[in-house]
């Protein structure tokens, strides 16, 4: 896993645009063209992009060698903040819903983060799971506020003060999702090579040496944790606005598991892998659910085992080795 994550940063450093950059550009352009060439896929891809941004949050933590089984917590908090905002302030602006949702996720990320950054490995993963289960049962139990298992509706927010029709709004949110994907993906890549990001990734290799340098691993991990919570918040908010309803299912452990799965599928620690993984996952899921709806988790689990045991680099790892092989042949 380590090799791949380092590859992706070093490839950015080369002067000539690499095959990877060109492919990324082509991929983004292809996504931009989706409403024109495949309008039926638009909603599906929008959900995949929202999920991809959340998966990016999990990916960030994987770079520090940590896995969280409860990041759907921030996904859900952001979605619920948005839903409550629109309920109390009908016709709120889309950007306001997004901003408040992300703010909510960041505050939650700070509170939970202050506690969980004291731990690594097993405790880190399981405590995150516990926090998400706590929030999930709050959502289910206090149904007079949260609507219980039925959730609450998130009526369509306005865009720059304009009431929009369904089709128009979906188009706006689709391009907003693409813009956020590119922007946040770029930001995360830059963050990884920034001093904080570099220190953050050394938590995976050797934390004690970090302390000898006079740096606090907890503070560094907390900043990465906040970033990951914020990214999950963006994803949750986009998902909630696209679907128009938020349910406790947003926070359910299955959702967290799905995020971890996609992150590992795409290539643990790879920014592009998070989005490619999410797109592949959503598209396969739509077509597979007709045949394998009952055994979906079973397939996911089985596939996760296969990736971990036989292709630890995920999709990006396989793609990298293909590109690399071509390069050596020339």
């Amino acid at each position: 896993m380590t090799d791949i994550s380092q590859n992706s940063t070093s490839s950015r450093a080369s002067r000539r645009p690499s095959a990877r950059t060109l492919l990324t550009l082509a991929g983004v352009l292809l996504l931009v063209a989706v409403p024109l060439i495949a309008p039926t896929m638009q909603l599906l891809i929008n959900l995949a992009l929202a999920k991809g941004i959340a998966v990016l949050g999990v990916t960030v933590l994987l770079r520090a060698g940590q896995v969280s089984f409860g990041h759907a917590l921030f996904f859900g908090i952001s979605a619920y903040v948005g839903a409550f905002l629109v309920a109390s302030m009908p016709g709120a602006d889309m950007m306001l819903v997004l901003a408040c949702g992300v703010l909510g996720a960041l505050v939650a990320g700070l509170l939970v983060g202050l506690f969980v950054v004291r731990y690594r490995g097993i405790f880190f993963g399981m405590l995150n799971l516990a926090f998400s289960m706590i929030f999930w049962s709050i959502l289910e139990k206090f149904y007079h506020i949260t609507g219980g298992a039925d959730g609450i509706r998130l009526t369509r927010p306005t865009v720059l003060g304009l009431e929009m029709e369904r089709g128009g709004f979906e188009l706006v949110i689709f391009y907003l999702s693409i813009a956020l994907m590119v922007g946040l993906g770029w930001f995360t890549l830059r963050w990884f090579v920034s001093p904080v990001g570099q220190v953050f990734q050394t938590i995976k290799t050797n934390e004690t040496r970090l302390e000898y340098l006079g740096l606090s691993p907890r503070r560094v991990l907390l900043s990465g944790y906040m970033l990951s919570a914020g990214l999950c918040g963006v994803g949750g908010s986009l998902m909630a606005m696209t679907q128009g309803v938020v349910t406790p299912e947003y926070v359910w452990w299955v959702r967290s598991a799905e995020m971890v799965f996609i992150a590992v599928l795409g290539g643990a620690g790879s920014v592009r892998g998070a989005f490619i993984g999410a797109l592949v996952y959503e598209i396969v899921r739509i077509y597979a659910s007709a045949y394998a709806g009952d055994i979906w988790q079973l397939l996911l689990g089985g596939f996760l085992l296969v990736i971990i045991l036989f292709a630890p680099g995920g999709i990006m790892g396989i793609a990298d080795s293909l590109i690399h092989r071509k390069g050596t042949r020339q």
Binding site: G65, G125, L127, A130, M133, I134, G302, L304, I308
Partner: protein, 301 residues
């Protein structure tokens, strides 16, 4: 809060703690010896419960007496351990002992996802209820409070028996000492001829049997639903983390704290009852990051 309610909460707490402890015991044993947190432990618990309900239903329909439910619980637990626990260790975990902790966690998580669906495929999504074991033992009245013998006497006795039995087994039998030696230092143990692979296989199977037994014993007291495995893994992790990972005696104390905290909350403030175990865990971990009975580990540099 009058005496009756106090006693009811106390009894609820004790019987609940006994069940959680049995499951947590398996989890902490596996972790203590193999340094792996088995997330699939929750599924093994649920499958133990489902298997008991199915077997009991089958044999009662053949005309067996309700008392026959008790040996069937043991049978289900052993089946879970041998048919699921053994192969999981043998086929999967054995490949990943030298991998990073995060990967080990992901592997057991993947097994958990698979087993959750397997339950749904085999037993469907409708709830099961099979309380013949509970009814077979009747009720007992203590200070004017009537409670089932099964929950008030049998469950705590099984829990205490397992705790003492496991302590005795680890400290005073040859196999137990082999396990302790492997836990202490795997390489040194292997160099004096201990087959560490067999020790791990045995430990994991015993842990899985305990998970199955917890489910089997829980089955008469609750309805068996999909999702009970997910709840139980988080709850038993809360117990194990509160006690300190790998602390067998500590797990009993933590289970009692969490069980009693939860049952009193049910009578005082029912909405937050499900949160109490986690609140206790978070409070304990804030003060003692290694758990109540855990000791800080020396770090390798």
């Amino acid at each position: 809060m009058n005496l009756t309610i106090f006693l009811l909460a106390l009894f609820d707490g004790i019987s609940y703690a006994a069940l959680v402890f049995i499951v947590a015991l398996g989890l902490t044993l596996i972790f203590g010896v193999m340094r792996i947190l088995n997330i699939a432990h929750g599924s093994l618990y649920a499958i133990g419960a489902y298997a008991t309900v199915s077997l009991t239903g089958f044999f009662l329909a053949l005309g067996f007496a309700p008392v026959f439910a008790f040996p069937l619980m043991l049978v289900s637990a052993v089946l879970v351990g041998v048919l699921l626990g053994g192969p999981i260790e043998w086929l999967l975990l054995r490949r990943i002992y030298d991998k990073p902790e995060v990967l080990q966690l992901l592997v057991t998580f993947a097994v958990f996802m698979i087993l959750e669906d397997v339950q749904r495929l085999v037993w469907g999504t409708q709830p099961y209820f099979q309380a013949s074991a509970l009814q077979a033992l009747g009720n007992v009245t203590v200070f004017g409070v009537t409670y089932t013998v099964y929950q008030l006497i049998l469950l705590p006795m099984v829990a205490i028996g397992l705790l003492l039995g496991l302590r005795f087994f680890l400290r005073h039998t040859v196999i137990g000492k082999l396990i302790l030696a492997t836990t202490e230092d795997r390489e040194a143990a292997q160099s004096i001829g201990i087959d560490a692979e067999r020790v791990f296989l045995f430990t994991f199977t015993v842990g899985a049997v305990l998970a199955g037994l917890g489910g089997a014993l829980a089955s008469p007291t609750t309805s068996i639903l999909p999702g009970m495995g997910a709840d139980m893994i988080v709850l038993s992790f809360a117990v194990v983390a509160t006690a300190g990972l790998g602390q067998i005696g500590g797990a009993a104390v933590a289970a009692l704290m969490i069980g009693l905290g939860r049952s009193f909350a049910v009578y005082v403030w029912p909405e937050v009852a499900v949160l109490v175990p986690y609140l206790i865990m978070v409070l304990v971990l804030l003060v003692r990051p290694e758990g109540l009975f855990g000791s800080p580990v020396a770090r390798k540099i």
